[in-house]
Symmetry: C2
């Protein structure tokens, strides 16, 4: 507990919640790092596909990134409308629930959840790749480094939203700033024609430059826009007026994202950079622009920080979504409530564990994770936008036609992109996402139906008070005659009911001794001795209780356990854990009531 307090701080009062709201400057750092950090790998993913068609095909990176720029613009405009319509946040799940009903909403929720988990895994993996591009000797420790990064983010997030925002704002701005500087200097160099350029090794084509390959490139580039939905899902975290602040933040985010992405793609093309296995594209670009000096290393560390902090935005969004789902009964109830630092602690911990698992399974390799990425986000984009279309059609309201057109354009664009991504990436791993969505939706539904069943079963019918069994037999298991046992017997004797003590005959000699002592101390309570052929005291006693329940179908059995408790927890190992085992076993028997009469040792 002390460790927990030191790590996550003292508990916060519920009334302090408003104080935890975020300013635009900090919100931009928290919620945009996810989207902006994708510039660190999106261009590389585009080039990796195009290079399959040979060096000449690389020129296609420019039109393809223009298409992605178009996507950014459409998403920004259409998401601003969602921000104003859904100030409580929740994104695709809430929009789809309100406009399409349960099934599409759950698909949206599943898609979003998968994407948040992948955001953490991909961003941390890419961040560590930035580190190992600069310091190759750390490459073999990349999984351990990634795990350490995740654990660090988890702890910071358990401290609370505003603290993690303040903590992470500086490195985020540092990362964005230094990428901006690189793009700026690179552009000036390019403009004045004094730019260096690598002498590109000619790459022979292994595939033809088909339409499919171009679409696959587009799909790969779509990773650039992942994370754009985060602001709209987190409107509640902003200071008042929430929607307006969120909207301004969203526009800033899109401007930064668009200019950095276009700049990097252009410079990479201009500099003739080709993807390498051992160094990232933007690391090459930074080396070309800055030389391999102090600025290069600052750039790499900035990129690394930005990427690792991108993971942080998922830690704000995932628990929020899990909590909304839990309140609707689709997730375990523990996810619904704030922890003692006003964050959804359980959601944060679950996300951290799954992301660590992914990182280990995929050996911390960004490229292995990328094919799974983006598909979930685009499904949720499409659901949100088409949900809004439906909303305008049914609800109408002022300027509904204009708004319909905006969200309609968003729905069509993201819908087409979703189909392209699903088709071109399907065999490369996107199928896993569909399977997972299916499993998650099943899980949501069965959790909900379990809770419904529980509610039905424990509900009280209008005027019927279910009667208790008429009789109550009190059974006290003993293993000797001592103060703990006597206390339990006296407690049992102070209430009504037939009482019997029961002991298991492990050793005839001590059984005889106890029987003699019982005659003096037992106060006339009958002592039954149970045979114990298999030396398991526990099962002998359980069999006895089972018999009793069978013989008397209209009877409670109250088991009064005399429990000797050590003064220090570490002494627990020196005591047979029989009381605990007994309690656990009895808990699952019907008509058995457990009473624990403790005897606390002083030393």
């Amino acid at each position: 507990m002390l460790l927990k307090r030191w790590l996550v701080g003292d508990p916060l009062k519920s009334t302090q919640a408003a104080h935890q709201r975020l300013s635009k400057t900090i919100a931009l750092a928290i919620f945009s790092s996810n989207a902006i950090s994708s510039v660190a790998y999106a261009t590389e993913e585009i080039l990796l596909v195009l290079i399959l068609a040979g060096t000449a095909a690389v020129a296609w990176s420019i039109p393809i990134s223009l298409a992605i720029l178009f996507l950014i613009v459409v998403l920004t405009i259409s998401y601003r409308q969602i921000i104003y319509e859904y100030p409580e946040g929740g994104g695709a799940y809430v929009v789809a629930r309100n406009n399409f009903g349960e099934q599409p909403a759950l698909i949206g929720a599943a898609a979003l959840m998968i994407d948040y988990v992948l955001t953490v895994a991909v961003s941390v993996a890419a961040g560590i790749a930035a580190l190992t591009s600069a310091v190759p000797s750390l490459f073999e420790y990349r999984v351990a480094l990634g795990l350490a990064a995740i654990i660090f983010i988890v702890v910071i997030n358990l401290r609370g939203v505003r603290e993690s925002g303040t903590f992470f704002a500086f490195p985020t701005y540092f990362g964005v700033g230094i990428i901006g500087v690189m793009v700026g200097i690179g552009s000036v160099q390019a403009f004045f024609g004094q730019s260096a350029s690598v002498s590109p090794g000619h790459q022979t084509a292994v595939e033809e430059l088909t339409l499919f390959l171009i679409l696959r490139t587009f799909a790969a580039g779509c990773t650039a826009v992942t994370g754009m939905e985060v602001v709209s899902n987190s409107v509640k975290a902003f200071r008042r007026p929430e929607s307006q602040n969120a909207s301004v933040t969203m526009i800033w985010m899109s401007l930064i994202l668009a200019s950095l992405f276009m700049g990097i793609t252009f410079l990479a093309y201009h500099g003739g950079i080709q993807p390498k296995t051992d160094e990232t594209v933007i690391s090459q670009l930074a080396r070309l622009t800055f030389g391999t000096g102090a600025l290069y290393y600052a750039f790499q560390s900035g990129t690394m920080l930005l990427l690792i902090l991108a993971a942080n935005s998922a830690f704000a969004a995932f628990p929020q979504l899990a909590s909304i789902l839990a309140r609707d009964g689709y997730m375990p109830r523990q996810m619904a409530t704030f922890g003692d630092r006003l964050v959804f602690s359980n959601g944060i911990i679950v996300l951290g564990i799954i992301a660590c698992f992914l990182l280990i399974v995929f050996h911390g390799d960004t490229h292995a994770l990328i094919p799974l990425y983006a598909i979930g986000v685009f499904i949720s984009f499409t659901l949100s936008q088409s949900g809004m279309v439906r909303q305008w059609l049914s609800k109408k309201g002022p300027h509904w036609r204009a708004k319909l057109i905006v969200n309609g354009a968003g729905a069509v664009t993201t819908g087409i992109a979703t189909i392209i991504i699903a088709t071109t990436k399907f065999t490369h791993g996107a199928w896993i996402v569909f399977v997972l969505i299916f499993i998650l939706v099943l899980m949501f539904r069965s959790i909900r139906s379990h809770y419904k069943a529980v509610t039905e079963q424990i509900a009280l019918t209008r005027d019927h008070r279910p009667p208790l069994p008429r009789r109550n037999i009190v059974v006290i298991p003993i293993n000797g005659v001592n103060q703990a046992v006597i206390r339990a017997v006296d407690y049992a004797r102070s209430r009504p009911g037939e009482i019997q003590a029961v002991m298991v005959d492990v050793d005839t000699e001590s059984t005889a001794r106890i029987q003699i002592q019982w005659a003096q101390w037992g106060c006339g309570v009958r002592l039954s001795v149970l045979p114990c052929p298999y030396r398991s005291v526990l099962s002998s006693f359980l069999d006895y209780v089972e018999e009793l329940l069978k013989k008397e179908p209209d009877t409670w059995v109250t088991v009064v356990i005399p429990e000797v408790l050590p003064a220090h927890w570490w002494q627990g190992i020196l005591h047979n854990q029989r009381a605990l085992l007994l309690k656990t076993a009895l808990l699952f028997k019907e008509r058995v009531i457990l009473t624990d009469v403790p005897f606390h040792l002083k030393r």
Copy 2:
């Protein structure tokens, strides 16, 4: 549970215990594999030290092994007397306890325990080394293979003594037999002068052949006699007449051990074999004798089986010793009793875990473990023998003078050997053993003093029945009005005492609703609403109970918990684990009695 039954078999009745006794043939396999298997590494350890003084020094292996042969003879004769005097087994601990008192007995017990653990680790490591000498590609998996071997032995042992004996007898005899064949063929070849011999690479001396080096060689060779005490510690496991059968078994064991050890040392010297890093000495010897054919591989697998099964003898002896110590109050009580297969299950599991730990820490390397080995066994040899000397001096009895001389010779011989081993190996790791013995003895004593304190605290004084608190307040924590809660309230109302229901105000809306429902269903029981500023229902309630206890110093507080239990254990994750947390927290409060009223869901 089903898995457990399938692995270890159905429980056995106590009356079946006699049936589990061992015949001489099987006892020889179980108890002698420990001692005999040492021939697989003892010669190598001798050569490893001698080679430091150059190739010529290797001739010293012959006189040194004659000294060890002398040790074997002395130990055999003197241990036979212990077998007859102590038919209940227990070895150094029992002998020292009866003749020297507590402190030396505990030192003996600690030394023996350490040695049993090391036996498992060393034997398994050496067994895997036999395997990897023959199949070098498995070398990198040696730790995993070792762990698998230990787990396998643990499971077999949990099935019971006789079953493991039967199971292990064949491979043990196979291993002993094939080593015997190798020694036989090798000797014939040597006698008729047609033996091959490796052309020894000349090894330059790095140390002088000092007396210290010779003594160190002797200490290294002493690993050959480790395990000789096992038979005398396990007399109880033999069929009647126990002592006589054990004594015959001991003699057979010594004969086999002595002839194989002397044979291997002689052949290794005659064949000019020098220790190598990548192949064991007896693997080289077998290759020389058999050639690298089917017989060689049979030899290696036989050695491997013999060594791995040597670990098995420790699994019979360690739990036996732990159980004796536990009955004397020096070990946790759980170690004292038979499990449901008539073996000391807890001791077997503990030994397995510690051995696995050692194997991992020392990377499964025999040579790294050897310096720790033997010292424990020789301390226990010396304690046993000198304890017997003391016994003959005080008890006398028929032929006591002759018996005194035998055990006296044993005490002096093993005492000198102990001093040699301790001195020469001290800096190589033997110091760890002394530290561990110190820690273990401390642990034994503090366990004993804890149990004594417990007994004193719970003991009843002659005529004084400690009174119970006069008043009893029943507190029922509720979080809604439903069948589970109503059942708990009705149960509480059926016994005397003031009753109050308590709920924590997490959400004002639902609090108001519950208060209205309570008016209908609460039967007039007062409902207190607790504030919950930190959203921790648990701590709010605990604070309330704490207050109550402070306010009413002469009162019991009985907390009646309405617990909803899922129909299937895996549904448990969908329920807040509040009942469990609450019970755990309340258990450690004085004057709090816990009553659990379960409500079992049907689906």
